[in-house]
Symmetry: C2
Subunit: 336 residues, 2 copies
Amino acid sequence: LSIVLDTQGGDNPPAELIRGGLLAADEYGVDVIFAGDESVIQPNLPANDNRFSIIHAPEIITMEDTPAETVRRKKNSSVVQGIKAVRQGRAKAFVSPANTGAVMAASLFGLGRMKGIERPGIAMALPTTNGSQVVGIDMGANTDSSAENLFQFAIMGRVYAHRVLGIKEPTIALVNIGSELHKGNDLVKQARAYLETLPGFVGNIEPNRLFDGEVHVAVCDGFIGNILLKAAEGGVAITTSALKKALTHRPLYKLGAAMMRPALRMFRDEMNLSRFGGAPLLGVRGISIVTHGHSNADGIKHAIRVAKDAIDCDLLERIESRVQEHITEGVFKKTK
Amino acid sequence: LSIVLDTQGGDNPPAELIRGGLLAADEYGVDVIFAGDESVIQPNLPANDNRFSIIHAPEIITMEDTPAETVRRKKNSSVVQGIKAVRQGRAKAFVSPANTGAVMAASLFGLGRMKGIERPGIAMALPTTNGSQVVGIDMGANTDSSAENLFQFAIMGRVYAHRVLGIKEPTIALVNIGSELHKGNDLVKQARAYLETLPGFVGNIEPNRLFDGEVHVAVCDGFIGNILLKAAEGGVAITTSALKKALTHRPLYKLGAAMMRPALRMFRDEMNLSRFGGAPLLGVRGISIVTHGHSNADGIKHAIRVAKDAIDCDLLERIESRVQEHITEGVFKKTK
């Protein structure tokens, strides 16, 4: 079972990302194909270890590259070549910390869309205060979605929650600014009519309640999803900053904080979002996983874990067959 | 200087909201007119205190009432009657924890729009990690805005940051999912062209950076603004929940936490969002302040403080004259 790891395009240097790949190989028993500059990758690999190989693709996609340019002009980039390895069957999945738009474009172009899916969406398992996880979809693959897109995200997200997170009858909610029926922008109001035809749909969810673990799948436009993620990150940052300020306000507090070190370390580990790295782009015909640009070795390791879980539970086939069932049942038509 | 406080429509009982009004009267030297059910308000007021009066308007606007219904059918609600008192000059400002859509509708209908402003926007001063504040606008008055709306929000938000927060040359940024020029949805891309004509415009801001205090005014569509606020709230909630879990994980930690009580209290006070209650609806011809539905007495007190600050610095007149300058300079036309 081979997984391609893109060693370029993240905020961390390739050596750190490669380290994540090596950790994942040891921990999850996967083979890793490192895509990037061979001269950079080679020195970071153990000698004579046939679990590892390299795709030499030194072109780097920057945050400034538009999705279209990426696919058209940077053919020898680690993103384009990594996706190609998946298409050709040399690997089962692709994992990348690069520019999301570029990964999306290369995946769409290189792997193609699933039948019945107009636009792929990023599904991300988010932490909640009750210890469960909630699948947010779309967390940023698209910027202007239609109600039909949201409907398809919901179907795919539900399969993900069921197969990968092991939730028996996942509930679906629509991300909105209020719980009341009449609330929302035009897109949300249109999408609601579509979602109401789906099993498990329970209504609206406000982003502050999202992290309570009340629902299993939260559906939104990718622009909203990305704003939501980054705003929650901001909320985490102001809280930890206030805590730090309070704990260091007086020398006495610092002493107390030193005594509490194990508890504060536990807190820090709990808030280490690397544990939630790795989000599959659902709706393309192959497993393509995006990770946060900040991902360190741990984040990469976790993203490879997400890839392996998706492979192990036949996620693609399950989504494809669920979408086909919906097409056969005529739900796709009914909602048009 | 009289301010109308709506005692209905919040999550807390009228007595708690009234207490906030009494605190504000003592602390800021304002007179308070309480709008709501006289039989509920009267027993909560000190006897023979001429700083306080009552507008008997017992109809309550619920979260289920649509904005249009509110204004048309609930004429004897505290929202509609409170706004009326401002229009008639009996009070200088209106403060309400009720349904935002209802306050928006009543304010638009009762006070009218400023010349040159198509849609009012909610401006909220948000906390940052460096101790400064950033004005977010629109934080939820509208759900589907145009690029022109965002441009007008920016102008009004900048006057607010300058006059109320005392920032000399406020910078303006556009809330977006990336810092790069090509990022964003259609609305954001269109709005960018408009905003670039404004003094102080510095580009995009991602919601995770919003709380760093790097920019003074952050402009967005009201749906995005409300999602952003609630997601940040969610981020605060998961962080404090993880901290609590860690601090109570072992009896020993509980002892340590007890020793650290002053520091943890300082942290809790710092994270008490009541200190940020009260956001003016800018663009209507009167001062109308919305507060969080959860607002307790402290939150209401702070919202009245926001009202008083707006009155003291002639916020309305300042915004009106700035908008007129822009009209005269032809900027409004140029951008069409």
